[in-house]
């Protein structure tokens, strides 16, 4: 079971977790990325490429489901304006065994960072700037090359 959602709605971790854990699997791994509250960002704005974003996320989820024989995968990504402490992205994987769930979860968030068309803009101290891509993201994504 695969569910991919991209929307401006607030992400509730409890709701997301309940959805991925309804699969009857033995192990659920999740990763949640939040707007950090410790580095002075007042607003994080996420722009995306409608249509292409969902297609990219579905392709990643398909790959993970096949590679780790997952029972379920769920990706929920917020776009628009967000505040510190709010959830930017939820990734959840369900599998019979924990190793598959954990690896697939790491795979999805690493690849999502480099392959899905999202762009972050930060407002801090009244100044707005686009976030620069990080080399470490490319390194993290590259380790999953089969």
């Amino acid at each position: 079971m695969m569910t991919v959602t991209v929307s401006e709605a607030t992400i509730d971790a409890g709701t997301e977790f309940a959805a991925i854990s309804a699969s009857g699997a033995g192990g659920i791994a999740t990763f949640v990325g939040l707007v950090r509250s410790d580095d002075g960002v007042a607003i994080l704005s996420l722009e995306h490429y409608p249509g292409a974003t969902e297609a990219a996320l579905r392709a990643l989820a398909d790959t993970a489901i096949a590679r780790w024989d997952l029972i379920g995968a769920r990706i929920t990504h917020r776009v628009g304006d967000m505040h510190p402490g709010e959830i930017v992205v939820f990734v959840g994987t369900a599998a019979r065994h924990r190793g598959a769930a954990l690896e697939a979860c790491a795979f999805l968030i690493d690849r999502l960072k480099t392959e899905a068309p999202f762009w972050k803009k930060e407002t801090r101290g009244g100044e707005t700037s686009w976030v620069e891509p990080r080399d470490s993201d490319d390194v993290a994504a590259a380790r999953w090359k089969a």
Binding site: E47, Y49, H77, I109, K113, W119, K121, P133
Partner: protein, 81 residues
């Protein structure tokens, strides 16, 4: 054409329809052609190393052949998640 993030901001619009001449056969050539016709586009496209593209929603290298696409998107490297 679709533009995203600071490419969109520098060009001043999110989308436009263009009709490049037939010798424009790659994404890079399309970028050159757009930059030659407008200072805003030229400003947005000044550093080619910081541009990425998708043709009909498929991510491609800038030297990829253009074909006859319905939709070409130009944008910065992604920074999501």
């Amino acid at each position: 054409m679709l533009y995203f993030a600071w490419v969109r901001e520098r060009i001043g619009k999110a989308s436009e329809t263009v009709s490049p001449p037939s010798e424009v056969t790659t994404v890079a050539a399309l970028i050159d052609w757009l930059a030659a016709g407008s200072t805003d586009h030229a400003a947005a496209f000044v550093d080619r190393n910081r541009l990425r593209a998708a043709v009909d929603q498929v991510f491609v290298a800038l030297d990829a052949p253009l074909g006859s696409p319905r939709e070409v998107a130009i944008f910065p490297p992604v920074t999501g998640g």
